[in-house]
């Protein structure tokens, strides 16, 4: 009897140690508890609502980033795509086209950027980091040319209610994030494409030799990632009502940080999408907590950097081979 419980307990410990996604949520819970105890207002419903609302902007980008990182890629063009989507949508909507055509144009262009990324990685054999860096650079240049340096603002009722509205008290943005996560979770963890992505991340040569289609998998991952960055750009446009050329910049590094904090290996092949959700919530909560303590921006960034390094040291170390 004791032997059985002992085994179960040992299994549970091993599973916990192996599940980095659980770690992300554990740390999130502890941080939230600390926030309630040591800062004001973190126990109120409105605060939680605001937190999950603002976390969804980052979270939607981070879900896409996870898909790419799992297959040992990386997307450094997400900041450009977020800005692209918002700027194009605002410009089209405030011009002759309506809101719907603006949204369609923004999403189509975002997907195109993802396709270009995948094409460069698959056909030109350019390393993902360089390819996405290049498309990101080209995008910021193209946006400068397109807007002449001064992007327009637009008020779209549809995006406004998407970003600020609520469904039974839950922000629509959060609902959207959950839906996105569910679909992406199915794609990554239950579909055949997802299995291919994990295989490619674990070892590209072996995966290709055993017939994993690099092209189709890469296109699915990069296009989904860019599309989600585009969606985040639209929600942000609804949230602020204005578009700017630099509005995507914070999401570049923070989306990768969410993925890594969520326990996904940056080298690919290992991780879980739910961890990324925990990572994005954790980063948003930490930022909100540091802001509530009235720390200067410099101190805030130092603390955030030290915390990220510390957390990674605790549970995200790569096994030494």
């Amino acid at each position: 009897m004791t032997g059985v419980t002992g085994t179960i307990r040992r299994d549970a410990v091993v599973a916990l140690r192996g599940s980095r996604a659980a770690w992300a949520f554990g740390v999130l819970g502890v941080t939230w508890l600390a926030a309630i105890l040591f800062a004001d207002g973190f126990d109120s419903v409105s605060n939680v609502r605001y937190l999950v609302q603002t976390a969804s902007f980052l979270g939607i980008v981070a879900v896409g980033q996870t898909l790419v990182v799992i297959m040992s890629g990386i997307d450094l063009s997400v900041s450009g795509v977020v800005a692209l989507s918002a700027v194009v949508c605002a410009k089209v909507a405030s011009g002759t086209g309506g809101g719907v055509s603006g949204i369609m144009a923004a999403l189509a262009l975002s997907a195109l950027v993802g396709a270009v990324n995948a094409g460069g990685v698959v056909w030109l054999r350019v390393p993902p980091m360089v390819m996405t860096l290049a498309t990101g650079t080209i995008l910021s240049g193209a946006l400068l040319v397109y807007t002449d340096g001064s992007p327009s603002s637009a008020h779209l009722p549809l995006l406004d209610s998407l970003a600020n509205g609520r469904l039974l008290g839950v922000p629509w943005a959060f609902v959207l994030w959950l839906v996105v996560t569910a679909v992406a979770g199915w794609l990554l963890h239950l579909s055949r494409t997802g299995r291919y992505a994990f295989a490619l991340g674990a070892g590209e040569h072996a995966a290709r030799a055993s017939g994993v289609p690099l092209g189709a998998t890469a296109f699915t991952a990069y296009v989904s990632c860019a599309l989600l960055a585009g969606v985040a750009g639209l929600v942000l446009l609804g949230f602020t009502g204005t578009s700017s050329l630099t509005m995507g910049n914070p999401y570049q590094l923070l989306s990768i940080a969410s993925v890594v904090l969520g326990g996904t290996s940056i080298l690919g092949g290992r991780g879980h999408l739910l961890g990324t959700v925990g990572g994005a919530l954790l980063l948003t909560l930490l930022t909100a907590l540091l802001i509530s303590w009235n720390l200067s921006e410099g101190v805030r960034q130092v603390v955030l950097g030290v915390l990220i390094i510390g957390l990674l040291l605790v549970y995200a170390r790569e096994r030494r081979t």
Binding site: I74, L76, G120, L124, R125, V126, P127, M129, V130, M131, L133, A134, T135, G136, T137, I138, S140, G141, A142, L144, V145, D148, G149, L253, I256, A257, V260, I266, L267, S296, E297, G298, V299, R300, Q301, V302, V303, L304, G305, V306, I308, I309, L312, L313, A316, R317, E318, R319, R320
Partner: protein
Amino acid sequence: MRERITSAARGNTDLVGLLVLLLAVLVAYQHYDSSLLSPASVTILSAQFLPLILAAAGQTTVMLLGGIDLSLGAVLGLAMAVFATYDAHSAGGVVTAVVAALCAAVAAGAANGTLVAYAGLPPIVVTLAASFLWSGVTLIVLPQPGGHVPGGLVNAYNNGWNGLAVPALAITLVLAAWKVLRTTRHGLALYAVGGNEHGAYASGLHTRGTKIAGYALAGAFTGLAGIGLAVQTGSADPTIGTPYTLNSIAACVLGGISFFGGVGRMRGTVLGALVIGLLTNLLLFTGISPFYQLIVQGVILVVALALKTYLTREAAV
């Protein structure tokens, strides 16, 4: 003779291609600005390109170790901020400011290196987290653009000092130092650890120490770049370093430095940085909106790398 040239060229496909590209850019440049080869434009251009060349040299050091430094721009900003906030009125004051800025950059680099060597985290993750840390420290040192650089220094740097192109001289000195370092045990260890870490460890190299020293050296290069940028502009801006992270990687990649470590030469990086810098200027001359320079930069990066992959694949078959 011809055989020797062709065989040398085959071994250095990247460098030859890059040189051809550089020559083409220079010829076009000469067409728009006939004073290109005068001492005055050497001073101006080297003053303009020094920050990118030195930042790319720092990135090269890290990439030769098989790493990548996403915190380079933040460290560059840190050195710039420390240098410019140090109120230097006398010559001795300037020296102290330089030493303080370099110490900050080297310490930041060594900290990155220590984490990479001992923490068991991939360099990209360590330097990503470190980029938050170092840009935070920079904001504490200098919350908004400002600081002060002595006017005489700014003038000497940008317009030459007694007919000497100071920035060109600085670049030459730094490259000469690298050349010497490369032949020493430490320089060779850098390549060995980057090329094959287990092999290097098995043959008795202190791989962790080499990594820490390499990242610290990269910090020194980056710090010099930051000081150069502060002197060039006459003040400091805590966020101006950000684009240097990606531009330095671009210069390295153009210059043929491998992402996997151990392969590449510093001269390639310098050529890569020169091509990026000259192209940017060339676009200004041609009267095309400067907004297009980012587009051209990105396209060149992809085309150069795709071409290189294509050529090396042909050679391998």
